[in-house]
């Protein structure tokens, strides 16, 4: 604890007041409105809304496509991180900067662009449909949009770990006669798992709530390609505020559970590391 002489620094009261007031007004009070609104529903009514067939289908699409997109990035995210950290090639700095494009590009722009590319008359859609693959206006299109949106999470969580990886373990493995593939698979990959999983959790949580990039390409057919955030706006358009709130609570519970699992995972990894060091 360095708290003793810290008290010399000014601004505790001011910043505490500013933070609590701002946080309360902007974040906590509005979120409390969710609880207030859902309390106006009875338990039975709440249950009926959140387990309606259309709602269940929307969770299936949302969670399913988010998981599928996360799995695609589970492969390509670490691959990109590896290539960016370990290989030298012309344009590396450009590719490295471009990884953050999905963070910087407004989601609506991503949405209409991916739709134009993957629609039947788009350059990619034409080729894919010639092979019988329809992407736009199907759950496949939702997955493509979510792959785009959540890619940076996987790359950016693995990249720093690779940059700080000590070379001696790899060298030891090579000295002991392990082939390069064996070294990568048995020595490097295991050290990356915590970072990969935490990137996956962040990507998944983001993908659950994603709206702008998805709605253009999704087709938005109830029961087939309607995501849960869209169901919320559909209910709002019909002034069904209580129904929208109920679905929102389920979606929020999904994101929070994902992030809680992530925190537990990090706690577990830190414990194991410190136990290993002791």
């Amino acid at each position: 604890m360095r708290a003793k002489h810290r008290h010399a620094l000014p601004g505790f009261g001011l910043t505490l007041g500013v933070c609590l007031a701002y946080l309360g007004l902007i974040v906590l009070l509005p979120l409390a409105a969710l609880a207030w609104k859902s309390a106006s529903l009875g338990a039975a009514e709440f249950w009926a809304i959140v387990t309606a067939p259309r709602a269940l289908a929307a969770y299936r699409v949302t969670f399913g496509c988010a998981a599928l997109a996360g799995l695609v990035n589970l492969v390509f995210g670490p691959l990109l991180a590896w290539v960016l950290v370990r290989y030298r090639f012309p344009g590396r700095a450009f590719v490295d900067a471009l990884i953050d494009l999905p963070f910087a590009l407004p989601t609506a722009v991503a949405g209409i662009t991916l739709t134009a590319l993957y629609a039947s008359n788009g350059p990619l859609g034409r080729v894919l449909e010639a092979h019988g693959w329809k992407i736009a206006y199907t759950p496949g299109g939702i997955t493509v949009a979510l792959v785009f949106v959540s890619l940076p999470f996987l790359v950016r969580s693995v990249q720093p770990v690779l940059e700080h990886l000590e070379p001696d373990v790899e060298e030891a493995a090579a000295t002991l006669g392990a082939g390069r593939l064996t070294t990568l698979w048995r020595v490097v990959l295991p050290t990356l798992w915590p970072a990969i999983l935490s990137g996956f959790a962040l990507a998944f949580a983001r993908a659950l709530g994603e709206y702008g990039s998805v709605i253009f390409i999704a087709g938005n057919m109830p029961m087939v390609s309607e995501i849960a955030p869209l169901l919320i706006t559909a209910k709002l358009d019909q002034y069904d505020y209580a129904g929208a709130t109920a679905i929102a609570l389920v979606l929020l519970a999904g994101s929070f559970a994902t992030l809680l699992a992530l925190n537990l995972l990090q706690l577990f990894t830190v414990r194991r590391r410190s136990a290993g060091a002791a």
Partner: protein
């Protein structure tokens, strides 16, 4: 970037390196480069004159003005909060500090649609404060204040998140010294703290601004889509696209894509300056 010793044990053999590199580049080309190029390709598919006319359109200009206005309120508000929160969390220890830290991150875990919904529940026609708002003739939902609030919510954590780890790592020795030497609180802030955190602050502000301008879901729920009045640029893109005015939609979208490119470039620049600053402080 750290230069690595060219130890053979750390180098992948060519038969592994080549396919991995090609696979990674193909993925980047398909998922990142192609969409970026396509935005501009579609924006100019009917020529430069049509492009300029789409941007000069009355509704497009109103959307651009509104978007800039919203960002001009939301970004400074969250910047001031971010600085205050980072100072509080990294310079004092108090009960509830950990909780405060997680609450600051909370908006990132909330779907943009839900961020819009919560303000509708508070200020909408059936909302908690509806009677009071009606009595005082104040309009928040389907009006500019709602758009500002929803934007502040979704961009809430950006500045604080960049500053907290930075200020934690920097420590407070210089501030302690300034106070001991008799500097007042604000003098210390302007002369000592601000120069120290400058690049990190710039980084957070850039990210916050990009999201504030590009936000779609949250703003879409609270805006009401009134042309010329409550349409931001992303919402205007949506309306044009749904009205089959694809080229005009991409013309406005290309401005947003330019902003994204500028954001990425600034981010690289600031990241590079930050690394140089830390290297200057503790040389290897």
């Amino acid at each position: 970037m750290s230069a690595r010793p060219a130890s053979n044990a750390l180098r992948d053999p060519w038969w592994l390196r080549l396919p991995l590199l090609l696979l990674a580049l193909a993925f980047v080309a398909l998922f990142l480069v192609l969409p970026l190029v396509a935005v501009f390709g579609y924006a100019f598919e009917k020529g430069v004159d049509f492009y300029l006319a789409s941007l000069a359109d009355e509704d497009a200009r109103a959307a651009i003005r509104l978007t800039l206005l919203v960002a001009a309120i939301a970004v400074p508000a969250n910047t001031l909060f971010g600085i205050a929160a980072a100072w509080l969390i990294t310079r004092f220890s108090f009960p509830g500090r950990g909780l405060l830290l997680s609450l600051i991150d909370l908006p990132f875990a909330v779907s943009p649609v839900i961020a819009g919904l919560i303000y509708v529940l508070l200020f909408g026609a059936q909302g908690l404060f509806a009677p009071w708002l009606a009595a005082h003739d104040v309009k928040i939902i389907f009006a500019v204040p709602g758009i500002v609030l929803a934007t502040i919510f979704v961009t809430f954590p950006f500045v604080a998140r960049e500053l907290i780890p930075l200020m934690q790592a920097q420590g407070s020795e210089q501030e302690q010294a300034a106070i001991t030497l008799g500097a007042g609180g604000f003098a210390m802030f302007w002369r000592v703290v601000l120069p120290k955190i400058g690049w990190g602050l710039a980084y957070g502000v850039i990210l916050c601004n990009a999201r504030a301008i590009g936000e779609f879901g949250a703003v879409s729920v609270v805006s009401g889509h009134i042309r010329g009045l409550t349409n931001t640029m992303p919402l205007h893109v949506e309306i044009l696209y749904n009205e089959y005015q694809r080229t005009a939609a991409f013309a406005v979208a290309s401005l947003l894509a330019l902003l994204a490119l500028a954001t990425l470039a600034l981010k690289q620049l600031v990241g590079w300056r930050m690394r140089r600053a830390t290297q200057a402080e503790n040389p290897p």
